[in-house]
């Protein structure tokens, strides 16, 4: 499926066109993100998309909202600073699998347990594509890549299980080429209060020769009737190897970080007065 990006709403043509490989899952993820924003009626000026570095991290350029294209692995801490400083904003972070679970793995763990009200979309193609084909944290054991020509010796990370176990309150998996399903997932994630993970299985036509469209067609299965409040069931589903279930694995209601921070419950930090702050009482403590 070829997406006509120029005709999509919220696309800012000033910023150029995506230059991903033909057929790349990134086009689909971009489309799903834009549709979700438009369908939920999020205001462009009140929405920020933060990314790291990688093929998919170019995404903020093609959506007409505020964007921040930072450093490799660091989308989440930037997104965290943005949300804490202005919790009225809708904050989305996007990152590839190497970015999210490799170099940025520590931030991922702590963002899950922090449960700040942001949405994390990971473009998971199980390969380092922008650097032309090295193993990633989600590559299958044994996979041959140009940094592991004799096969990967490590087990892949299971981002779904990791998210559930470290405290994220919304954990889901999508597939780049199930566009309607992915759009709904992202909408659900954006409406969720707390940290929401959308791990997107992504087809890479150029660098990942194992995970082909046929592979996904055979493996991907839409979740139905699962108990999203049941942690053990969610974990069990996340461990399935015969099929790759997509949908919401886990979704619970618990306090988000921002709503527990009394300094920002009334007005966001950014709206606070910073002129003529009276520190005389504070100084008396030093007498």
């Amino acid at each position: 499926m070829v997406i006509d990006v120029e005709n999509e709403q919220t696309c800012n043509l000033d910023r150029g066109k995506p230059q991903w490989c033909p057929g790349c899952g990134d086009y689909m993820i971009l489309m799903a993100v834009k549709r979700a924003i438009v369908e939920l009626g999020l205001k462009p000026e009140e929405t920020v998309i933060v990314s790291g570095i990688g093929c998919g991290s170019k995404l903020p350029h093609f959506v007409n909202v505020y964007g921040f294209e930072g450093l490799h692995g660091r989308a989440l801490p930037v997104a965290t600073g943005i949300k804490l400083a202005n919790n009225k904003l809708n904050v989305i972070a996007v990152a590839g699998d190497g970015d999210a679970y490799g170099i940025g793995g520590n931030h991922f763990l702590h963002s899950c347990r922090r449960n700040l009200n942001i949405t994390y979309i990971t473009q998971d193609n199980s390969i380092y594509a922008l650097t032309k084909g090295q193993t990633s944290p989600t590559s299958e054991k044994g996979k041959k890549t140009n940094s592991t020509p004799f096969g990967v010796l490590e087990e892949p990370i299971n981002p779904i299980a990791l998210g559930i176990l470290t405290g994220a309150s919304f954990v889901s998996r999508g597939y780049s080429h199930e566009l309607d399903h992915l759009t709904e997932l992202i909408k659900n994630a954006l409406q969720h209060k707390g940290f929401s993970l959308v791990n997107v299985l992504q087809y890479c036509p150029s660098m990942n020769k194992q995970n082909t469209l046929e592979f996904f067609k055979e493996k991907v299965e839409i979740l139905e009737g699962n108990d999203i409040g049941n942690k053990m069931e969610a974990l069990k589903l996340s461990e399935r190897k015969d099929k790759l279930p997509i949908g919401i694995f886990y979704n619970v209601d618990k306090p988000s970080y921002d709503e527990q921070e009394p300094q920002i419950t009334d007005i966001p930090l950014v709206k606070q007065n910073i002129v003529n702050i009276d520190i005389s009482k504070m100084l008396e403590m030093f007498q």
């Binding site: 000033d14 910023r15 943005i82 949300k83 804490l84 007498q287």
Partner: protein
């Protein structure tokens, strides 16, 4: 006329000597209208090891500690063994302690343990000893009693009373004894006693900093905890992060949306922030970074002091870009320059580093209550953008920021090389345009800054930066008594570097004073001005210069023209 008295209290780590020396003795002196300077030395341990605090008290302004101890409170034998040679006065110690005190030192063997146990616990020894010291020095217990009531209020009446009894017990053991050093009450002129990190916190709060993200690292930790302490009073969000990489990236995120944000760390943590520093420069997002130096490399010496990170601050991260490096010289500068740092960071949209060290971070100084009104300058911010360009090329190099939430200002803030709209652009023309623009901001900033002052008179010019400022001033007092004088140039801004002041120094002999081995300031002066600094007084043993030792080093250079003097060891 100076009536300087220095007290030292020493004991094992965890015995509360630092707290007793500072909150009981130093604050009693402060409230009695005296000028105070405290310096703490302690190992990186929670229990055991040797802790000590010196409190230098004077009727006139005092800018640093002194190596001459006029009264030593020894809560363990090690304190006597380590510091007896520096005592010119007397020693207070427990009567069961097996020590030999030479004749030229007055010995005050006091039953500290016994008196403490009579009050129900061993923990009152500090208070008893402070009571005894105030008795010997003739200052009375009036202020100490008030302080005890305030400090132990939350622990209940029982603890308050026990400590007051302890202070009186010590006082009555010593008050009738003759002592050559005396302190007398002066008019209290509303001063406060705080250390460099406290002053940085106060400055940041005053400047409207509403966000700090940091990871604990000695000696910067108390900036994080200080901000946390006041967070509810001033509506500040404090985020203890998973690592320093997260710290700087979160602060940059907060800065991007328009909140004044900072982070704090020491050299090791700053190493992890290096990439983020470049992000701030390239994306043109304001961030303030507090770096409190300790000796390194690697883990180095966590609780000791040094000035070895100057080159690192000036050069950290990839490629070349303007950054501001401010090194406050004392507690006052920690407050006022922190405020200025926030204005510069926002106005020029670049990283601003405030470089202090363990000595300045942890040494307390009695200063006038900060009272100057502060002007908040947020720089160019657009409210109703039309055809908005985030990185618009301007004459002064500064482009207006559109903060998220502003309709029409949607753009990408990018760490890639970008064009005026923030779109990636690797063409040669664009690269040159943007690189020049970033440097043009720096030129604009240079024009805003005032030239540092030349103080005093003399053919020799002592050039210092950061925490040695007070030591140089005390050394100057010593040399003046010998009719020897020098000019003092203290640099609070290392980047941008003020070249013009050096043009006034042609024909004069420069002496650089700093806490490192390779004289990094001399390297900087050479790079910026072409002037080869011929004389250096250096120290790199992890401890601050004593003013007496520095005076001797300077005397030596002035008299003999020695090129390099290293003052290491006590």
């Amino acid at each position: 006329m100076s009536d300087k008295v220095t007290l030292m209290i020493g004991g094992p780590a965890g015995s509360g000597v630092l707290n007793a020396g500072l909150n009981m003795f130093a604050k009693s002196c402060l409230r009695s209208g005296l000028k105070v300077f405290t310096k703490a030395e302690y190992p990186s341990l929670i229990r055991g090891g040797h802790n000590y605090l010196t409190v230098t008290v004077d009727t006139e302004d005092v800018y640093s500690h002194s190596n001459e101890i006029n009264l030593l409170i020894a809560l363990d034998k090690k304190t006597v063994e380590m510091h007896l040679d520096d005592v010119k006065g007397g020693v207070i110690y427990d009567s069961t302690m097996d020590v030999e005190i030479p004749e030229n030192v007055l010995a005050f063997s006091i039953p500290l343990k016994e008196a403490s146990e009579k009050l129900g616990s061993e923990i009152y020894q500090n208070t008893i000893a402070i009571g005894a010291a105030l008795g010997l020095l003739g200052l009375g217990l009036e202020e100490l009693e008030k302080i005890i009531r305030e400090n132990f209020f939350h622990k209940g009446e029982k603890v308050v009373n026990a400590n007051i009894k302890a202070a009186h017990a010590g006082y009555s053991l010593s008050k009738d004894k003759k002592y050559p050093y005396k302190l007398s009450k002066q008019n209290f002129d509303d001063r406060i006693l705080l250390n460099g990190n406290d002053a940085i916190v106060a400055g940041a709060v005053k400047a409207g900093c509403k966000f700090i993200s940091a990871y604990p690292m000695t000696p910067a930790t108390s900036v994080l905890t200080g901000m946390a302490k006041f967070s509810r009073d001033f509506g500040i969000v404090v985020k203890h992060t998973e690592d320093e990489i997260a710290s700087i990236n979160m602060a940059i995120g907060a800065g991007f949306v328009g909140t004044r944000a900072m982070t704090c760390t020491s050299g090791g943590g700053f190493a992890l922030m290096a990439e983020g520093l470049g992000l701030s420069a390239q994306a043109e997002v304001p961030v303030v970074i507090i770096e409190s130096q300790r000796p390194g490399p690697g883990s180095g010496m966590a609780t000791r002091t040094g000035q070895g990170d100057l080159n690192f601050m000036l050069n950290a991260s990839t490629d070349e870009f303007p950054r501001v490096v401010i090194a406050p010289g004392d507690v006052n500068e920690c407050f006022y320059l922190t405020q200025q740092a926030f204005n510069i960071a926002e106005k020029y949209q670049m990283p601003v580093i405030i470089l202090v060290d363990k000595f300045l971070s942890t040494s307390c100084s009695s200063v006038h209550k900060f009272n100057k009104e502060m002007k908040v300058d947020r720089g160019k911010i657009v409210v109703n953008p039309e055809n908005y360009k985030r990185y618009e090329v301007t004459k002064d190099g500064i482009s207006a920021r559109a903060l998220p939430g502003t309709m029409g200002g949607e753009h990408v803030t990018s760490s890639y090389e970008h064009d005026e709209k923030g779109v990636e652009d690797e063409t040669r023309e664009n690269r040159i345009k943007m690189h020049d623009k970033r440097y043009r901001k720096f030129k604009t900033l240079e024009k805003e800054l005032s030239e540092p002052e030349l103080k005093g008179d003399g053919d020799f010019v002592v050039v210092s930066w950061g925490s040695t400022k007070g030591i140089v001033r005390e050394a100057e007092k010593i040399l003046k008594q010998e009719n020897s004088d020098f000019t003092h140039l203290h640099l609070s801004f290392l980047s941008p570097f003020c070249k013009s002041v050096f043009e006034k120094l042609k024909g004069k002999k420069l002496i650089v004073v700093e806490n490192n081995k390779t004289s990094q300031l001399s390297q900087l002066i050479l790079k910026e001005t072409g002037i080869v600094v011929n004389h250096k007084v250096l120290k790199y043993d992890g401890r601050q210069f004593d003013p007496e030792d520095l005076a001797e080093g300077l005397r030596d250079v002035i008299a003999t023209g020695n090129e390099e003097i290293i003052i290491n060891g006590d």
